[in-house]
């Protein structure tokens, strides 16, 4: 297939996934805040979100260096801000733009769905998103994105195009899951004495819920939320479709379909990623620092992305 179209298939699904994952990211933050037992400043509540999406700089560029970080402004920044290319609106727009470029490769049903989605999201985001309206909006968005997944699974030809679609989706999912796990780190790090407290319980539960993994985790680990188990589950659970291991394994299958002959750089980057997950355990990760592990993982993911661009998209 055309390199440019492969690139668009890949980005179409990355932006699709990014829109949904960004919603998860904000959702989990809102839940944390709901459970917070003490007063937190608006800035403490929302700054971590800017940090993990690496957008502090853009935020002050758009609203001024002195701009207060508050829920209203942050929700705007993350949901409807046109100047933020990772906002939900921008993600859905770029999701559709890339679908438009790859339109002769995707099914009619997929095109109509993404087209409708863009029109309805753009419409809803014309008025500012408030904290009260945020949750139903996120639920709707996530459901619609899942519907697109279903339509794709049921209408799109398997093969190279589909594999680039999967590659993009799971690349983005792995990236965002790592970042979501990192929110937890940012939020609890200042106060390690709270580990194991009631607050901690709610926070881990909220994290699992935002990753749609609450029930699955419960079934597997029964009572309690040991930090170690939760991290084990999110990083390494083979059968959980939002775990990092699952994402990386799915990417591997997609790469196999696309073919890695003469694509040493991509092959090398992928195996580095794979190795990182195989030669460790949750205990070891905790011992050397979860945040550091996640950072290293995100770097390797970036390497794989760069390799794909060089080997396939040019």
């Amino acid at each position: 297939m055309l390199s440019r179209i492969a690139d668009s298939m890949y980005w179409m699904s990355r932006y699709q996934e990014r829109a949904g994952e960004t919603a998860r990211l904000v959702e989990i933050n809102l839940l944390y805040l709901l459970e917070a037992e003490e007063d937190m400043s608006e800035e403490d509540k929302w700054l971590p979100l800017l940090k993990i999406s690496s957008s502090e700089e853009l935020f002050s560029e758009l609203y001024g260096a002195e701009a207060l970080i508050n829920s209203q402004r942050l929700l705007q920044f993350i949901s409807s801000e046109r100047g933020n290319s990772n906002s939900i609106r921008s993600s859905v727009r770029l999701f559709r733009e890339n679908a438009r470029v790859a339109r002769d490769r995707i099914s009619k049903e997929m095109w109509e769905m993404v087209n409708e989605l863009w029109m309805s999201i753009n419409d809803r985001l014309r008025s500012p998103l408030t904290a009260e309206k945020a949750r139903p909006f996120f639920v709707l968005l996530r459901n619609e994105i899942s519907r697109f997944d279903g339509i794709t699974a049921n209408t799109m030809m398997r093969g190279e195009s589909y594999s680039f679609y999967e590659l993009g989706a799971f690349m983005e999912r792995a990236d965002m899951t790592a970042r979501i796990l990192d929110v937890k780190y940012h939020l609890i790090l200042p106060d390690l004495s709270r580990v194991g407290s009631a607050l901690d319980y709610y926070q881990w539960a909220a994290l699992l819920k935002s990753l749609s993994g609450f029930e699955a985790f419960r079934r597997k680990y029964h009572a309690g939320f040991r930090a170690l188990d939760v991290v084990e589950f999110i990083l390494f659970e083979r059968d959980f479709p939002r775990s990092i291991f699952f994402s990386v394994e799915t990417m591997g299958r997609a790469l196999k379909t696309i073919g890695l002959e003469n694509k040493e750089r991509t092959a090398g980057a992928y195996f580095a990623l794979r190795e990182m997950l195989e030669n460790t355990t949750a205990e070891l990760v905790f011992a050397s620092g979860l945040h550091e592990f996640l950072e290293d993982f995100l770097t390797k993911l970036g390497d794989l992305h760069a390799a794909l661009s060089e080997d396939f998209f040019q």
Binding site: M1, L2, S3, R4, I5, A6, R93, E97, R100, V101, R103, D104, K108, W111, E112, N115, E116, M119, E160, I258, G259, F312, Q314
Partner: protein, 482 residues
């Protein structure tokens, strides 16, 4: 063309009504449709109009309007429910007239780029050709396969006050609109299936198959070994919807210039598995942008080296470079002579009377009667660079006088033709609007005219401008089989 005397100067003119007779009863071929509308009532039309809007929106049948925001403004394709119906007898004349015209224009192009007999014989003044912006000296002496230049033509027809079909202009470069012709039929069939019960309407949706067949027949490696691509300027082009539509319907790659590379006069696609040879390029970009090595060097839309590959016979370009000179509006008045010269036949379809601004007598007549004239720049299209006399201000008219005097070769004038009217469903009422017709002609192994076309409607009351970029709409166009 000195037909001033006796041509209708100021007497009131009434445009032809396609739907009604002079005594306001529907014409015979519209009667079944009319009875049906009357029986179901206008409320049902309202519901149907809404349904058709939704369907076009969901399917993303759009066109892009240039300018303003960086996101580009995509508009939903405007569609009117009431079909336009052309009888089998009328169509027979249109079809034979278009075939004749396209055949002559291709002989003309081949002659211009080789022996130029028509100039030597004094039928066409040489300066008319050499001053034409779209005459491409760079390709002199090259004859494309079978001597065909315009594999796809979209010829605009209007109906004069007496109902006669006239040729308004030839579009021989990258005519667009065929996807909307097909989408209009798809929507009409879905929303108004009962309309079709009463008529035998000829099909138009096989157009992409005809096109693919014509394109494949041009492959230098043979018809069965043809890698065909549609070349688009990209997602922000106003006709991008059409480009994806055609690529998808034909099952071929939709490529941009940057997706291709020329090595040793062979064009390749850049794919995920390496380079892949291209045989036929259905290009939807203008000559100017096609090859930065030959034409505009600042073009980033084209493929460097493609003209040399074409010259070497290693790739087919559709339509062929240089075709634009044949639809230059200054050449248009000569087309009847061109038909007579190459085919020895009288033109079946007439031109609209046209004044040449290079002719002093014509020019003075036009300046004296500007309010009844349309003045057109010869190499513009899409309704740009045009003076509509009846709607113009004295200042605008003065400006046009200056422009014409500055470069007479660049302008022609035509008496305003009050385009025929048809009923349209506008906000709950059936109202008359002006319209034209663009049928599509494919010249492959033989010449075929798809029975139908794109009917464009001037949605503003009284307006004669049908271009979609300027508020035009459209109708499904039915050609009856008997």
């Amino acid at each position: 063309m000195n037909n001033h005397n006796g041509s209708s100067g100021n007497k009131p003119r009434i445009s032809f009504h396609e739907f009604y007779d002079d005594d306001f009863t529907p014409r015979a071929h519209y009667r079944p449709l009319w009875d049906h509308i009357r029986a179901t009532g206008q409320n049902s039309l309202e519901v149907k109009a809404h349904e058709s809007q939704l369907a076009l929106q969901t399917e993303g049948v759009t066109f892009t309007v240039y300018g303003e925001s960086d996101e580009g403004i995509e508009r939903i394709w405007p569609f009117d429910l009431i079909p336009r119906i052309i009888t089998a007898m009328e169509w027979e004349k249109i079809e034979s007239g278009l075939k004749q015209r396209v055949k002559a224009l291709n002989l003309f192009l081949n002659d211009l780029y080789t022996d130029q007999k028509i100039i030597k014989d004094g039928v066409i003044p040489p300066e008319l050709i050499y001053q034409g912006k779209d005459f491409r000296r760079e390709i002199m002496g090259i004859t494309p396969p079978q001597g065909i230049y315009t594999h796809i033509s979209g010829i605009d027809l209007i109906r004069a006050e007496d109902g006669e079909y006239l040729i308004l202009e030839d579009n021989l470069r990258t005519p667009s609109g065929v996807s909307y012709m097909i989408e209009n039929r798809v929507i009409e069939r879905r929303i108004m299936p009962e309309f079709f019960d009463k008529y035998r309407v000829r099909r138009v949706d096989h157009y992409p198959a005809l096109l693919l067949d014509a394109l494949r027949s041009l492959s230098p490696r043979g018809k069965d070994n043809a890698e065909v691509v549609v070349l688009t300027p990209g997602v922000y082009n106003s006709a991008y919807f059409e480009h994806t539509f055609l690529a998808k319907e034909m099952g071929v790659e939709l490529a941009e210039g940057r997706d291709m590379v020329t090595i040793n006069d062979i064009v390749y696609l850049k794919t995920t598995t390496g380079l892949q040879r291209v045989d036929v390029i259905y290009r939807r970009i203008d000559d100017d942008f096609l090859d930065p090595l030959i034409f505009r060097s600042d073009s980033t839309l084209g493929i460097a080296g493609v003209i040399n590959a074409w010259r070497a016979g290693n790739v087919a370009l559709v339509n062929a470079p240089g075709s634009g000179i044949a639809d230059d509006k200054a050449v248009y008045p000569y087309v009847p002579d061109i038909i007579r010269y190459y085919l020895g036949q009288q033109p079946i379809l007439k031109n609209v009377p046209t004044y040449q601004m290079t002719n002093q007598q014509d020019r003075e007549y036009v300046f004296d009667n500007m309010e009844g004239m349309v003045i057109k720049a010869v190499s513009e299209s899409g309704g740009y660079g045009m003076l509509m006399g009846p709607a113009s201000t004295p200042q605008l008219r003065r400006e046009f006088v200056d422009k014409v005097l500055e470069n007479p070769r660049n302008y022609i004038a035509q008496p305003v033709v009050y385009l025929s009217r048809h009923i349209c469903y506008m906000d709950g009422e059936l109202e008359a609007r002006h319209l034209d017709l663009r049928p599509f002609v494919i010249y492959g192994e033989d010449i075929q005219v798809v029975p139908g076309g794109l009917t464009r409607v001037a949605l503003r009351k009284g307006s004669l401008v049908v271009n979609s970029s300027q508020g035009g709409g459209s109708k499904d166009t039915w050609v009856l089989s008997e």
